[in-house]
Structure formats: structure tokens, C-alpha cells
């Protein structure tokens, strides 16, 4: 590997890390976890990001939103067309008392299928790549296989 290549790899890596830092500290969205960390600051703010939100239970005036690796919360919302166990796309106002008020809410239709169906092309593309390329580990170089 030449000095130029190493410089490009290092430069790109540093810039990618910088972009991640920019996102972590300057993103415009508010997540439910941000609200839990600082309820006073986010009281009355619009929350758009949740951790794999699923409807745990439907109530008369809303539902219980369950997050993956995160706390559950009561959401006041119109429950027509909502179903227990489904992923949900949600925009809601956070209240420091510990509940959300839905601004827009809809079932993330077919989300489970989407995740599992997406595995098929990944396997297929990996197969094509292994058919087409080989790695020379000594020089860390990828080249086209002779027969490809």
C-alpha cells in the first residue's frame, strides 16, 4: 500500500469521525431518551426519534409505547387503526410529567418484513462479491478473480 493510499484512508477516517461528532453534538432531532435525561429542558418539545418503538398496549385515550433497550411511556393519541405489537411511526410532544401527546402517529406497516427481506439482497451481493473478487492478504489488496 502506497503512502498516498494510507493518507487517503487516514484522512477519510478522520473526516468520518468528525462527521459523527458533529451529528452527536449538533443534531436537530430530539429523542425520547434525551427527554428522560433532561425532562425540564425538553418539556413541550417535539420528539421524533424513538428506539424501535412498538405499541405495547392500547388504552381508551392512547397507548403505551415500548422502546427497545429504553423506557416505556404513555402516549395520548387517536387509537383508530393502531394495533398492539406493531411498530409505530410517531411525532409527539413530550411533557415532563412523563407522557407524550401525539402530533402524528401511524403504524409502520410491514416493518418486520422489511428488516428480514433486506437480509436476502445482502447475502446475494456478498455471494456475487466473493465470486468476483479475491483478497491478497499480504498486500491487503482486492483484485478481480481470473475467471470473473
Amino acid at each position: 500500500m502506497s503512502v498516498k493510499q494510507i493518507a487517503i484512508i487516514l484522512g477519510c477516517s478522520i473526516l468520518l469521525i468528525a462527521l459523527s461528532v458533529v451529528t452527536v453534538y449538533h443534531h436537530p432531532w430530539i429523542s425520547l431518551n434525551d427527554c428522560y435525561e433532561n425532562p425540564e429542558k425538553y418539556d413541550g418539545k417535539l420528539v421524533t426519534h424513538f428506539r424501535e418503538p412498538v405499541i405495547a398496549e392500547i388504552l381508551d385515550d392512547g397507548f403505551i409505547l415500548k422502546q427497545y433497550q429504553g423506557p416505556s411511556i404513555k402516549v395520548f393519541a387517536e387509537t383508530t387503526n393502531l394495533k398492539t405489537g406493531e411498530f409505530v411511526g410517531l411525532k409527539a410532544i413530550f411533557h415532563k410529567e412523563g407522557y407524550l401527546e401525539a402530533v402524528s402517529c401511524r403504524i409502520a406497516k410491514n416493518r418486520r418484513y422489511k428488516i428480514w427481506l433486506s437480509v436476502i439482497p445482502v447475502v446475494l451481493v456478498a455471494f456475487f462479491l466473493f465470486q468476483s473478487f479475491q483478497v491478497e492478504w499480504k498486500t491487503i489488496r482486492i483484485r478481480v478473480k481470473d475467471h470473473a
Partner: protein, 161 residues
């Protein structure tokens, strides 16, 4: 984001006619184009679905600039003779990914083409990701019809020559 079958199907139906028109038939670079088209999602989704706290850290990989840097970085591992073509196919596939993503109806922004200079979301909202899944059979039928036509035309040409 639409599912990855939709992404790969669209990339196939765009890349293949180009390849045939240019008489450049070859799986290696086409498979790099496919890789480019799924790369923004496979470098982000699995991580934040399994580890939700990583969402903000992996986010740049789902942006034009982040993908440009990633594909440039990856292409450095290719043999010098094919490095430029590898980069063009990876970056071309990734660009197509964001164009297809822009066709999706999004409840919150996910298509920040000008990141990190602007947080403007580019979305033209034709269908939700869930609705796009229902079109998968049509994409597959489209590919089968296209490939059958290519096969028949080639066979006819071989008979005539």
C-alpha cells in the same frame, strides 16, 4: 428507507441496460454497484437496530458526504488497475440509494443530502417503506422479463452469426 430488495432491484434495472449499451458485461463491477446501493443501510441499520444508542454515531454513513468518504476509503483497498472503477461503481450505487430513499414518505427526516452544511431533508414522498414492500413482486417480475429479453436477443444474434 425502502427495503434493500427494492434498492438492489432498481440498481439492477439501471446498471444492466447501461452495461449492455456500453458492451461492458461483467459481474464484478456490477456487484460493486449493488454493494454501493446497499452500503448506506448496512453500515447504519444493523448497528442502531441492535444497539439503538449508536444512531447518532452511525448517522453520517447515511449521508452523501459520509458515503463519498466511505467509498473513497474502501476503494483504496482495490488493485490500482481497478481502483477508479471500483470507486465510481460504489459511489454511483450509493448515490442511487439516496435518490430512491428520497421517493419515500418519511415521518421524520432521513435524507440530508447537504449534511453537515444543512439539515434540510430531501423527500418527495411517493410511498411509505411499508407500501414499497408490496411492489417487490413487480420488481422481481420486471427483472425476470428484462433478463429473459436479453437472453433471447443474445441467442438470436448467436444463431444469425
Amino acid at each position: 428507507m425502502p427495503d434493500l430488495i427494492t434498492h438492489v432491484a432498481v440498481s439492477h434495472l439501471i446498471r444492466r441496460p447501461y452495461e449492455l449499451a456500453k458492451h461492458k458485461v461483467g459481474l464484478p463491477f456490477r456487484s460493486l454497484f449493488y454493494l454501493g446501493t446497499i452500503l448506506p443501510d448496512i453500515l447504519t441499520r444493523p448497528f442502531y437496530i441492535i444497539f439503538p444508542a449508536t444512531y447518532n454515531w452511525t448517522f453520517p454513513f447515511h449521508t452523501l458526504l459520509g458515503m463519498g468518504l466511505t467509498t473513497l476509503l474502501l476503494s483504496q483497498f482495490f488493485d490500482a488497475a481497478i481502483r477508479k472503477r471500483a470507486f465510481i461503481n460504489l459511489a454511483g450505487g450509493a448515490t442511487l440509494h439516496f435518490i430512491v430513499d428520497a421517493l419515500q414518505i418519511q415521518i421524520h427526516g432521513n435524507n440530508f443530502w447537504l449534511f453537515p452544511f444543512s439539515w434540510k431533508n430531501f423527500s418527495y414522498g411517493l410511498a411509505t417503506a411499508g407500501q414499497m414492500i408490496e411492489y417487490i413482486p413487480y420488481w422481481i417480475i420486471g427483472i425476470i422479463i428484462f433478463e429473459s429479453m436479453v437472453y433471447l436477443i443474445r441467442k438470436k444474434r448467436q444463431v444469425h452469426s
